[in-house]
Amino acid sequence: MMMIPPLSMLAPLVLLAVAAMAAAQPGRRPGHLPRLSELAALASLALALGGAAQLVAFGPVRVALPDTGAGFALGLDALSATMTVLVAFIGWVVMRYARTYLDGEAREGLFHGLMLAALAAVLVLVQAANLPVMILAFVAVGIALRHLLLFYPERPAARRAAAKFSIVWHAGDLALLAATGLLASAFGTVDLAALATAGSAAAAQGALPATAHLAVAALVLAAMLKTAAFPLHGWLTEVMEAPTPVSALLHAGIINGGGYLLIRTADVVQASPGGMAALVMLGGLTALFGAVVMLTQSAIKTALAWSTVAQMGFMLLQCGLGLWPLALLHIVAHSMYKAHAFLGSGGAVRAVAGLKRPGPVAVPDIGAVMKSFALALLLYGAVATLFSLAAGPKSPQALALGAMLIFGVAYLVAQGLADAAPAALTRRTGLAALGAALAYFTFQQVAGALWGAQLPPVPVAGPLEWALIVLAVASFGLVAFAQALFPLWAHHPATAGLRVHLANGLYLNALLDRLIGGFRAPASR
């Protein structure tokens, strides 16, 4: 038994202590506060790593205040440790960035305080051991983020974005509250570990009470609202009104909350085939929708926001397929990538200027694209066989997901197969494709090893699951194929209207604006 509590649970306290100091210095150039903020974030990263070390050394722990088991309970296990380290790492990078970036702002001190508070709330969220703590943390994140989105309150667009965010986010909180009540009535507990046990028992019996089905529906709804899934994704594509570090924290730390909620309640969610099917369909739709809209966006941060919509949809799809460790892997990988992409978005001018330098892009024709798909599937077959031999057979869901991803790799191969592409380029893209396939399977293996034990196994595919698998693979394959042939049709007059509608995100945001008065003249104008 361990005498000291997990260090990672102290991380939010450190952050809040410095956040409290910000209240005294909310203004410009608040002395040592920016440096202290970064140090606090660094300390919380160290504590998170310490917690992970304790997990390895002593195993999972649950700590509750008061010591009755209920109330404010935090847990340390493989899932929470992963997320705590991830969020603390991103948090440190973002706070270090903000130390320089915010220098000289009129509300500099306040910014650091709010960021630290948001970060602390996310760290509580990912360590929550029961649903009430999670709800509290979600609400706190929402409040802090709303204030951050209003960092320039004089901007009408910022006020509009903050209003949309608050509505959707707190609607998610209400959905989670409802889910919590329903779960309590179905299973008599709101503790995450107890729910996991009860959920897997119910799944084994094959019968979930009706209230539990409703609870899963509410959980799925909450997750979809919080991950900006179609059709209420609009709030996420407008939050560039806040300084860049906010976007980085939001897209890399906060947006994951919904996915993490599902992963934490995976045993219960997986017991509801309807909930899983909804995740596959809406997640898959959101993924494709977001990815296609992203193609039309000429503003870097806006394109990145649509990319987040798509990536979160893909993560929901993975959840719906029962590939829970892969969903968590996607959260980790996406967070790192997206944090970097936002913080480095100022380099876009240089990047675009560099695009034309090495000459025109070689455009693959239909033949080359067919060939690339065949090659990619061949590559996939070889790599998948290799990994199956080494690590045991894969579920149909995992194989299907791999196929979807390999369609993407085919695009890389296709670029090297274009007639105008020299052999050296073909070699390079081929190697990159091989590298991507190997890396993908390796990370999958690692994810299974790290988190598989704590998450339910992939469900046995029945008729519903198979139908969904075929639907998903077919639609991703179709979009990937169209994408590879993209230069051949994208500028055809027949697609002009499609492009306009997609660039506008199919107007869902405009409709929401109309609904909440986002088109009204601002009072101060």
Binding site: A303, G346, A362, G408, N504
Partner: protein, 795 residues
């Protein structure tokens, strides 16, 4: 039709549209941006008149708040004498009667600049729907795609004119209809098929008269912000190449189609619109308040001139011995600090100031690149072609690497493959985050590219002619030291969309590396050296020309040892030592001005990806001095003066003087006025806060989610958080040359003369390094009393 009016004829209208388009300044894309005078279209008017015009069409103030001047008066920085002189010089009919009246006015608030409303604004007030911001959003989304240079994978069909492309877009875009403007898609689809006809029809429907139309068009173009200015840049480029381009008129047509629709949507605003038109039709006359603002601004400039004149105490004795090092710098104000620091290292060091393209008008293709970049002031057309291409094998390797990287980038961006990218490569970004957070990416400076060369090679005689012309223009035809250092400049910055704004404006927003290396290579070429005397230039056989690049963020100098120079090995080592020490001194001086900087950590700003103020660029620029260095040597000009080396006694026929007045002086005025505009009218002419910049289309930035493109300098480039880092002053040009020669040149160049006559710059003649006379509008001069030097020499 609710208004009876005389329709404007198409021929007249096209002239009015053209004039309105030229009233808007061009905004250069950020990949190679240069400063532009935001008041380019108003240079035929004085400050007060331009204030009145831009207040009307943009709501932009053209002078700092009165409180700024009042504070300067209270602190004694602006004296009664300055105020009186400015008051006397003013020709405003309703100017304050006397000094006391002026001082009283300075304590009052002044009138805020308020623009005349557009129909969108009137419709907003009437219907409660925020039409201006809906136009900003929908127009911005369309324009971002239309002018995209490859940022999005799915851009609109290329090669279509803006107006035609917009009509297609708007006939599909449902956003205006969702916002409540029923039938807008049909309205756009049914709009006239050419921009000319659209403008004609809208002019009719809006009841525009000839008197009002130009002002209304200017108002609407300003309403489009940077998009109109990007359009003006497209037409600028076309005009420079001898062609035409009517993108500004096309954008105007689009905006007018909107106005038509909103007038039809809310016809009850007709009466207000008629009043607005009447206001537009009135001639632009400055108010008494604007006249006072202009006088106070002039007083602030006179105060600066007084301090500058006091610092210029006359030419120092030139060293009689041959210099060990002659270092030629760009005239850029940032060179002034470094030149002083370098000269203080050793009396045998001499420095020279010249435009950083060193007189070579280059169109250049870089290593591994097919793109031709113009490395010259944007007023000129390239006349020479150069390349840094290496061997065929080396080029091939570089291109394959770049193309593979590009293919990987498309893999990251494209639908479906972006998911595979994140799964396969996402975790690697953890390492990248760590590396960039610590500023540990050492790949940025990289190995220098292969040495540039002229391509095609024009032959030794043509090369000698070009090299000799460059040396003569630099007043360097004779008296060369053992080493002549040609220093270009550029700024190493990380993750900064405005990177090119920190580079050399004389090199078209690129670094000066190519120009400096190419001229040094020309001058070290034995064939060229042999041909130089025929072009009237004598260079001693033992003179080595050495190229370098001054990094204005870190004050480190990279030397390019392109030519083998075994005899100069010791010289080069010594020069490297001097440069290193000078860099340390310059950093120490600059650190005092940069918030949160110390001399030790200033270089780290170059690699910090969160740094918004890597250096100050040309902020603070206030003076341009063309004189022998002896006139300014040893004077601390605070990094605020462009220094152009010029010796009129060596200028046969005053060809160099004419060049200086028509090229570097004009470019300097553009820079000074861009800083001025970005500081006093940041909403109309500034780039907005960098904290919410969103790079769009590879050409510019928008704020937050989208909307207007923002031209000009970001707020962080002119403001340090506490106060403006750029004191908005119009440039004081001081030239050591006979007054009648200057007058004669101005007479031949009415555009340049207009800049001085209308007060966009001040002009002074120097004699023996001291201010002798002030230019007065109308080609006259007024003698300036010699000023006694005060205790401090700092200007």
């Amino acid at each position: 039709m609710y208004l009876k009016h005389d329709q404007i004829t198409p021929a007249r209208l096209s002239g009015i549209v053209d004039a309105a388009a030229h009233a808007v300044p061009p905004a250069f894309p950020l990949d190679a941006t240069v400063a532009v005078n935001p008041f380019l279209g108003q240079s035929d008017e004085d400050l007060a008149t331009a204030s009145a015009r831009l207040a009307r069409v943009a709501g932009a103030p053209l002078t700092p708040p009165r409180a700024t001047h009042a504070a300067a008066m209270a602190e004694g920085r602006i004296t009664d004498a300055d105020l009186l002189a400015a008051l006397d010089a003013s020709t405003a009919p309703d100017k304050p009667a006397d000094l006391a009246a002026l001082k009283t006015a300075a304590q009052q608030g002044g009138a805020p600049a308020k623009s005349l409303p557009t129909l969108a604004e009137l419709a907003m007030a009437e219907t409660g729907t925020d039409w201006p911001s809906i136009i900003d959003r929908t127009f911005g989304l369309w324009a971002a795609g239309q002018f995209d240079r490859g940022q999005a994978l799915w851009t609109p069909a290329p090669g279509r004119d803006a107006y035609a492309a917009w009509r297609t877009w708007a006939s599909y875009d449902l956003t205006p209809e969702i916002a409540g403007l029923a039938g807008f898609c049909a309205h756009a689809a049914d709009a006239p098929d050419t921009p000319d006809r659209a403008i004609l029809r809208a002019s009719d429907r809006l009841g525009l008269t000839e008197d009002a139309a130009g002002s209304v068009f200017h108002r609407l173009l300003m309403d489009l912000g940077g998009w109109a200015q990007h359009g003006r840049w497209l037409s600028w480029q076309a005009e420079l190449a001898g062609g035409t381009d009517d993108t500004p008129a096309q954008l105007l047509a689009i905006r007018l189609v909107w106005e038509e629709a909103l007038l039809a949507h809310a016809p009850q605003i007709g009466a207000q619109w008629a009043d607005t038109l009447a206001a537009h039709a009135r001639p632009v006359v400055p108010s008494a308040d604007q006249a006072v603002d202009a006088i106070l601004q002039e007083a602030a400039e006179r105060a600066h001139q007084r301090r500058l004149a006091a610092a210029l105490v006359g030419a120092t004795e030139a060293a009689p011995t041959r210099p060990a090092l002659q270092a030629a710098f760009c005239i850029d104000v940032r060179s002034e600090v470094f030149r002083r620091a370098l000269e203080s290292q050793d009396p045998a060091i001499e420095t020279i100031g010249f435009a950083g393209f060193f007189g070579l008008p280059l169109a250049h293709t870089a290593h591994g690149s097919d793109v031709v970049e113009a490395h010259l002031p944007v007023l000129l057309n390239p006349a020479m072609h150069s390349t840094s291409h290496g061997t065929a094998q080396g080029e091939h390797t570089a291109r394959i690497a770049a193309r593979a990287t590009r293919a990987w980038g498309r893999f990251r961006q494209a639908a479906v493959s972006s998911f595979a990218f994140v799964e396969a490569a996402g975790p690697v970004y953890g390492v990248k985050l760590l590396r960039d957070a610590l500023g540990a990416d050492k790949t940025a400076p990289g190995t220098p590219s292969p040495a540039p060369r002229l391509d095609p090679d024009p032959g030794p005689d043509a090369k000698a002619a070009a090299a000799a012309a460059a040396l003569k223009a630099m007043s360097l035809a004779r008296g060369h030291g053992r080493v002549v250092l040609l220093l270009g400049h550029g700024a190493q910055v990380t993750n900064n969309p405005h990177e090119s704004a920190y580079h050399c404006g004389a090199c078209g927003g690129h670094t000066g590396e190519v120009s400096a290396r190419l001229l040094a290579a020309l001058l070290n070429d034995p064939e060229v050296r042999a041909a130089l005397p025929a072009h009237g230039v004598d260079v001693p056989a033992d003179t080595l020309f050495l190229a370098g690049l001054h990094d204005t963020t870190t004050d480190a100098v990279t030397l390019y040892r392109d030519a083998a120079a075994p005899d100069h090995a010791e010289d080069t080592r010594r020069i490297a030592r001097w440069l290193k020490r000078a860099g340390a001194a310059a950093r120490a001086e600059r650190a005092a001005r940069l918030p949160g900087a110390t001399a030790q950590d200033i270089a780290a700003r170059a690699v910090n990806w969160a740094e918004l103020r890597p250096e100050w660029g040309l902020a603070g620029c206030a003076a341009f001095i063309a004189a022998p260095r002896a006139a300014t040597a040893g004077v601390d000009l605070g990094g605020r003066a462009f220094l152009h080396s010029y010796d009129w006694r060596a200028d046969d026929g005053f060809g160099t003087l004419e060049l200086i007045l028509t090229a570097p002086v004009v470019v300097a005025s553009w820079i000074s006025l861009q800083y001025y505009g970005s500081a006093v009218a940041p909403v109309a002419f500034g780039g907005g806060t960098k904290l919410i910049h969103n790079v769009v289309g590879g050409i510019g930035v928008v704020q937050g989610n989208g909307g207007k493109l923002r031209p000009g300098l970001p707020w962080q480039a002119v403001h340090d958080g506490d106060a403006l880092a750029h004191d908005p002053l119009r440039l004081s040009v001081m030239i050591e040359a006979p007054q009648d020669r200057i007058t004669a040149i101005l007479e031949r160049h009415p555009d340049v003369r207009a800049l001085f006559d209308n007060g966009w710059m001040h002009l002074f003649a120097l004699e023996d390094g001291q201010v002798a006379a002030r230019y007065r509008p109308g080609l006259t001069w007024a003698a300036e009393a010699a000023v006694c030097s005060g205790p401090g020499r700092a200007a």
